[in-house]
């Protein structure tokens, strides 16, 4: 199996093909690990509850695995998986549990107006944590508002810290395309996120 994040990572298309053949679990696992952030981000921006989002994200990949053979353009795996995630999140939003079941005391739910958008966080200072989490939520939604084709690139660069050449290989595109996406996405993010920095966030 291809080693993760070497100079020449397997492309998404290659991993899709490998996933479809016998013993493709490892290849699919690599696809999951590569794009779970993208899928989580997409769903989180819609359902706003971390646990539900994680649940739906897992479901997204499980379903994708089942219908992988229907994927017509293996190069477009990221866009495809994001679309499945979007559909699942929309379905969840429209068929959400009725309100009388939803909010036992203390439950995390956006309808209570309480903080619902958080992974397990054991930071000692609750105020600092809340402020930071709030900031991260804004960052995430700024990323989610980027044009669709920039998002996968942003995740692979900012989160996975891959080089443009590696990203191009993964996406089956040219380094030039990745570089220009990164340039534009970077400029857009700076424009949208710079105001948040005045709140004092520094590296």
């Amino acid at each position: 199996m291809t080693e993760r994040m070497t100079d020449a990572p397997a492309s998404d298309a290659e991993l899709v093909a490998a996933s479809l053949s016998a013993g493709g679990a490892e290849a699919f696992s690599e696809l999951v690990s590569r794009h779970k952030g993208l899928v989580m981000g997409k769903i989180l921006a819609m359902v706003r509850d971390f646990h539900t989002a994680e649940d739906l994200a897992q479901e997204t990949f499980a379903r994708a695995y089942g219908s992988l053979s229907q994927l017509r353009e293996p190069d477009g795996f990221a866009a495809w998986i994001a679309a499945i995630a979007g559909n699942l999140a929309r379905t969840w939003l429209s068929s959400r549990k009725p309100k009388f079941l939803a909010t036992p005391a203390g439950a995390n739910d956006e309808e209570t107006g309480r903080e619902a958008f958080s992974p397990q966080d054991s930071s000692p200072d609750p105020h600092e944590t809340v402020a930071r989490r709030d900031l991260y939520k804004k960052v995430l939604s700024a990323i989610e508002n980027l044009p669709e084709e920039y998002k996968a690139t942003v995740y692979l660069k900012y989160l996975k810290e891959l080089t443009c050449a590696q990203i191009a290989r993964i996406q089956g595109t040219t380094v030039g395309t990745v570089t220009s996406r990164l340039t534009r996405a970077g400029a857009m993010l700076r424009e949208r996120l710079a105001p948040l920095l005045r709140g004092g966030y520094c590296e």
């Binding site: 779970k36 994680e54 695995y65 036992p104 995430l140 400029a187 996120l193």
Partner: protein, 397 residues
Amino acid sequence: MMNCKQVSELLPLFVAGELDEAVRAELESHANICAECAAALKEAKAVHALAHDALAHFEPGEDFEKEVFARITADASVQSVQSADRPGIRWRHFYPIAVAAAVFIVALVLLQNKPAGTVIAGKLSGEATKIRQGQKYVANQPSAIELLNGAKAFLMKEAGFSIIEDALHLLAGSCYVDSRMSPRQVTRLATAGLFVELHHGEAYLYAGLPVQEAAPHADILDAIMPRAYAEEANTGAPALLVVFSGTAEAVVKGTRHVLGGGEFLFEDETTAGPRKYEAFLKEAGSRIDEVERAAQEIEKRLEPYTHVIASYTTSLAGLKELADTLGAQGGAELEELKVRIALIEQVKTVHEARAGQMLADLNNARGGEMNGLKARVRELEEAEQTRRDALENFGKL
């Protein structure tokens, strides 16, 4: 020297570590003397770090992949309730008061979530007795599934499949489908390359596999597509549909084909299988015609030469006889005769050479190429006959 506009454009790549050393240095030296760009650089770095931290904060942990696979491999357990319109619900996210109600909901979901098919013979891997939407299964031994519309699919050993929205997706190996039990209902089948609507009949479906994995299935393929298609089987078996009875509509790469009993279709209709055979026959046929026409053309041109050469031979014989009769006292008349004979012999030699060349061309056309083509056509026709016989016998099974 870099200007402020260039610096601003290069900042995202700079902070992403995507600039060459020389460009980096130039940008940094500009920032050293330009307070505005220095501030922009600091801001870009901070934004980059912030985006990284935020994404890392929400990135699912290491267990995420394991959970995904638990869902994929789980059979009808409560933890991976799967239905067409509802994601799984995990218990631990419910608070105690909600649990009773949640049980009720999950039970409802389970009831609504009818299995996509029921195993009626054989046994599938993972002790699964219900085939669920979208999950992948592998038949470790020949197995049969009754599809929701009543049609039966008989899976050969090691056939991989899943059922998505009532369509049987054959991922690997082969299966035989009998839809005669469900009149008027279309049975939907698919492989990576074929989408098939089977209208009340029987069909055999083969999903292409990588070469090394195709070997165990070669016997099945060989029984249906002997010899003529061995070439394709060796270089990676293509997806294949054989219709025994009834009709099937198969969509291959956007093109719709309507097939009747005894007909078949390969995934790649242009380069593989029967289409290739047909294409070869057609091409060989027209090439044979072409060669034959050329040969006839040569024959037509050769004919007058043959006559002329024959007449030269006759004339020469007559003239030589006359020369002999004239004998030594022939004088001037004999000399003139000799000149004529020499001239005719010269012309005859030239014409014989031309005729010889034409004859060689003719033999070459009729012999070499044409014989080769005809032999290959005969071979393919025999293979096709074998295939038809095999198909007929397979149908009788």
